[in-house]
């Protein structure tokens, strides 16, 4: 009965979303305030019904209701309870329901905060989100109903959750990622509402900015959680594979990052207006494209759950409608929001433009690499695959240019500046950075010739460049106040948005450190080891102590022991495992990691070889690999700090009539 109640709630939600996409929008054109105000209650109703439906599905999982097809396919009575809950979004139908739940959750939040918006704007924003919801609810109900029953003969036990997904990473990774993906629907709805109204001012940008930033924060966390999960769960020791599904999440992130920066220009200077709208449309479209790629079965990977061409066609049509309609609207209305404000070449605007060009260009290269094989295959021109070298070759140089431009962009002021001033500010920093990069490669590797890697030198120079220009900027921004009140007070007077910006940029520097050092100086060995064997890798010695059998709750495990010594001193005992999950008889490598701030020691079991107890082992030393994810935490934290800025709450309340002149934020020019 619970499953039926869940289905009924979904159908009611569909009706509500249909009402929501029509009436408030009509109200916003006829000036009918009552119709417009319906948007808020409809959004809350929608959230309540979808939330109830989701809880019904969770309930079916917890109570092992294997007469529900979806539960039978993704759970098992032996599965530990936390994984039963997370199995709710472990398959296609459930993760789609979660997508819808998060979408209406965002809507409820917008509705909650909508008393600060003009009624027309909030009605239109919610209506547009209602239309997006209609599409996804229809998709769920027509092609991917999670509440289907297997009657009259339900299986006695479920097929179990894919062992790869029985992990803490999976409990949090999808919700985070979806919060990000779907969060860009808010920015999209704001953009469409601006186009519908033909009005785009500083106040609009100030409303849209925090939503975009929050979505970006979630997407950043979601992607880095996914990368972390792949690192410790897949047993290869890699953290990014340029897998099409990873690319599907990276593309909206890149364009979303561009959007965040472009929104800053729109808010501060009233510029890049139509470009901002276009980016908002693209970001959400890429999120949808990601969904299409992952859900349609065009791609095969751990994320592609069920391959059903009908679903692919549905999403493709949906994507075409969304992109087609919004781009048509853009073409018709964009000329009305154009701005004519000039700025000098050496200004922050120019550098943010460079930022946007580089970010969108890199998203385009990723898109090309991801879709090219599909395109050739669909044209029957042969089967190819585009390997990681392609992505590294095109993506890394652009990322480096971006980091270089970042330093200038941070230092420059809005509107006007001079090249001469910029050179005087940066020439020493540049020199120190290059020397620092060279010095790093000299001192870090044992042998200069062997470890001289040009990309690592460049990367470390860029890290210094980012940090030093940041320091210089803080000194510049506190110069006057420092003379009067001292450094501490001067720092206190800087705005949260300013600190948020620097924190996020610092995060980029930290991530670059992790990527550069771990890709340049990792050491790895795959080898055959018999119990008692010792092997040396770098300054570490590994002793293999054999493998024993151990039972788990729903698996049995070959439990290995490896003792690690550093220069003769024991520092860790690692237990890599090879598990076989009972229900699916599926083998799984469980790597064992000794984590550290400056290095990870990573051991994974390969396969048993022969009768003497010898195994294939994979040993890795990964210096600074943790910094990759640490950096993304900094970025996310930076986003959170930035939106804590009071101007997003207070001045919004002062309404549009109190529109202040641009650039009055003083030093807070993030």
């Amino acid at each position: 009965m619970v499953a039926e109640a869940g289905l009924l709630a979904l159908i009611i939600a569909l009706c509500l979303s249909l009402l929501l996409s029509i009436f408030p929008l009509v109200g916003s054109y006829t000036g009918n305030l009552r119709l417009m105000n319906q948007a808020r209650s409809l959004s809350w109703g929608l959230f309540a019904f979808v939330g109830f439906s989701f809880l019904c599905l969770v309930w079916a999982f917890i109570t092992d209701d294997f007469s529900v097809d979806y539960v039978a396919r993704h759970s098992n009575s032996l599965l530990p309870v936390p994984y039963k809950v997370s199995a709710t979004w472990g398959g296609h139908e459930g993760s789609l329901l979660m997508w819808v739940l998060i979408l209406v959750g965002w809507m409820a939040m917008v509705a909650f905060r909508s008393d600060r918006l003009p009624p027309e704007l909030s009605a239109r924003v919610l209506s547009v989100m209602g239309m997006v919801t209609v599409g996804f609810l229809l998709f769920t109900l027509l092609t991917s109903n999670p509440f289907n029953r297997i009657l009259p003969f339900p299986p006695e036990d479920g097929a179990d959750l894919n062992p790869l997904l029985q992990d803490f990473g999976l409990i949090v990774h999808p919700p985070m990622l979806y919060m990000g993906y779907v969060g860009f629907a808010v920015a999209f709805a704001f953009a469409i509402a601006a186009l519908l109204g033909g009005q785009l001012d500083t106040a609009w940008a100030r409303w849209a900015r925090p939503w975009t930033t929050v979505a970006w924060v979630f997407l950043t966390l979601g992607i880095s959680l996914g990368s972390w999960w792949a690192y410790y769960e897949l047993g290869w020791g890699g953290w990014w594979f340029w897998d099409p599904v990873e690319n599907a999440s990276l593309m909206p992130w890149l364009v979303g990052t561009a959007l965040m920066h472009s929104l800053a220009v729109t808010e501060k200077r009233g510029l890049f207006k139509s470009w901002t709208l276009l980016l908002a449309i693209f970001t959400f479209s890429l999120s949808l494209l990601g969904t299409f790629l992952v859900r349609s079965g065009v791609l095969t990977s751990v994320h592609a759950f069920a391959n059903d061409p009908e679903r692919g066609v549905f999403i493709l049509f949906y994507l075409m409608i969304v992109v087609g309609a919004s781009l048509t609207l853009f073409a018709l209305r964009a000329p009305e929001v154009r701005s004519r404000i000039s700025f000098s070449m050496a200004s922050r605007e120019t550098l943010l433009l460079v930022n946007n060009i580089l970010l969108t260009a890199s998203a385009a290269t990723v898109l090309l690499g991801t879709l090219f094989p599909l395109l050739l295959e669909s044209l029957d021109m042969g089967m190819i695959s585009v390997g990681p070298p392609y992505f590294n070759l095109v993506f890394v140089p652009m990322a480096m240019l971006l980091a270089f431009a970042l330093g200038f962009g941070v230092l420059l002021n809005w509107k006007s500046g001079s090249v001469k001033w910029l050179i005087s500010q940066t020439r020493w920093i540049l020199l120190v950075s290059i020397l620092g990069g060279l010095g790093f490669s000299l001192f870090y590797g044992d042998v200069f010739a062997k470890h001289f890697l040009i990309s690592e030198v460049l990367a470390m120079a860029l890290v210094l460049w980012i940090v030093l220009t940041m320091g210089r900027d803080i000194l510049n921004k506190t110069r006057n106040a420092r003379a009067k009140t001292g450094m501490v007070d001067a720092l206190k007077r800087l705005k949260p948005a300013y600190y948020g910006m620097h924190l996020a940029h610092l995060g980029l520097a930290v991530t670059i450190v992790g990527v550069a050092i771990s890709s340049g100086y990792s050491s790895q060995r795959d080898l055959r080891m018999t119990p008692g064997d010792m092997v040396t890798l770098g300054e570490y010695q590994f002793r293999f102590d054999g493998v024993s059998m151990r039972p788990g709750p729903n698996y049995t495990s070959d439990y290995g022991s490896v003792t690690v010594y550093e220069n003769g001193r024991q520092i860790a005992v690692l237990h890599p495992e090879k598990r076989v999950y009972t229900a699916q008889q599926m083998p799984m490598t469980e790597a064992s990691i000794d984590p550290g701030l400056t290095r990870d020691i990573y051991v994974a079991l390969g396969e048993p070889l022969g009768d003497d107890g010898s195994w294939a082992l994979r040993l890795h030393i990964k210096p600074f690999v943790r910094w990759i994810w640490l950096g993304s935490l900094f970025m996310a934290l930076g986003g959170v700090v930035a939106i804590s800025d009071r101007r997003y709450r207070m001045k919004v309340r002062q309404k549009v009539n109190a529109l202040r002149p641009f650039g009055d934020e003083g030093v807070a020019s993030a």
Binding site: I357, L368, G610
Partner: protein, 166 residues
Amino acid sequence: MNAVRKQRLILVLLLLAGVGLAVALMLFALRENINHYFSPAQMAAGEAPVAQRMRGGGLVVPGSVERDSESLKVSFRITDGAGEVTVHYEGILPDLFVEGSGVVALGTLGSDGVFAATEVLAKHDENYMPPEVQKAIDEAHPKPGYARPAAQTTVQRELRSLQDGS
């Protein structure tokens, strides 16, 4: 040229430079890093180029896996039902490398007809069939169930059991 026009021109040039750089990089990178797929039948018939990086894939022939007793060297044969090719690999095979199931290998074909793999992939799910392998098998057997030679039925039975997920 007035200031606004000059500015706009510079912006357009910047944009073009960015796009140009991106396109040049992409084309260069794509030319160098595309791996074409060849089926075991194509390799066996000598239709695949020698000493060029490519992907090959098929079902691992049951009983063909041989391990070296001292190192991680391993050799096995893969088939699409129409031809077989021997693969040499040194390293750890993926979890789901099982005799009779589908794998994709990256590497080069030697003049001796042996495929030297640098990477062997089997996917995360036991029901999964690499699309290339599936296609090659489909092409090798255009009409399943019609006049099947005895040698091919094993492959097909395995294929079917793979698809059924049993």
